[in-house]
Symmetry: C2
Subunit: 135 residues, 2 copies
DNA sequence: ATGAATGCAAAAACTTTGCATGACG
DNA sequence: CGTCATGCAAAGTTTTTGCATTCAT
């Protein structure tokens, strides 16, 4: 029940918000741009404006429902904020996105921030890779 | 001699390119947006167009003279491609950028890419931090 | 009913491109 | 001199905003 998901996040359960959340849940691709989501909605004959998609995604981000990434330049992509944190590996040749998690790296990051007198709030780690040739 | 630096990179040593490279070398802040560089030039009464700044920075990036980052959304920032690689820590309260390097993290990244059947080509790691309160 | 959310269109922010002119080697 | 590079202005992208209308509670 996505209605509940929105209320718990402190947001009114409006039509556009429900539809956008649904696209995020149902899409094969976990990582979608605002334009991607807008296209899904138009194709499904849902009447939602692009401006609303941007506004709603920003609210979702503030509410912790989604995370925003800026992998390469140009535009942002959004993904549902799944309970488990993870980082991303992007294949430069195929565009595939693989999620991974390294507790060692997570710990090292906290230690490094700490050593510089800071507290780690968040981080962004993206590995750019290409298929390994079997030599 | 920045003239030489450009020739070695395979670029003609034109006025605008020398001036932009100079701004990158002389600026206190290592990380500058195209607009930042343009502003420096205008203040120094140098007659260089913003479009040229963008074109030259892109050429510099392709030639390996600078690196482009997309820390937050909206705009790119550029820094001279110093010989030693490093990652970045951005303070959310002051905007300060601190550079750091962890050989452990570098190694773990290669291992992770490898474990997924990929070869690590590049990566982006940014820690978002805030000043640690002394409790 | 009432304040919040939406759609549309216009604007803003950032970056790229077309074209005539000017500069490097 | 022949390109290649530049400046300017115009166009392209992505994202935000103003405002009248509609919707959720």
């Amino acid at each position: 029940m996505e209605h509940r998901e929105l209320k718990q996040a402190g947001l009114r359960a409006t039509g556009p918000r429900l539809k956008i959340l649904d696209v995020l849940h149902e899409s094969d691709d976990r990582h979608l741009s605002a334009e991607d989501i807008y296209r899904h909605l138009v194709e499904a004959d849902e009447d939602v404006g692009l401006a609303t998609v941007y506004r709603v995604l920003t609210q979702f981000e503030e509410a912790g429902l989604v995370r925003r990434h800026n992998f390469e330049s140009g535009h942002s992509v959004f993904e549902l904020n799944s309970p488990g944190h993870h980082d991303h590996m992007v294949c430069l040749e195929t565009g595939d996105v693989v999620e991974f998690l390294s507790e060692d790296i997570e710990r090292l990051q906290r230690e490094i921030a700490d050593a510089h007198g800071f507290e780690l709030v968040d981080h962004s780690l993206v590995l750019y890779v290409r298929p390994r040739r079997n030599e």
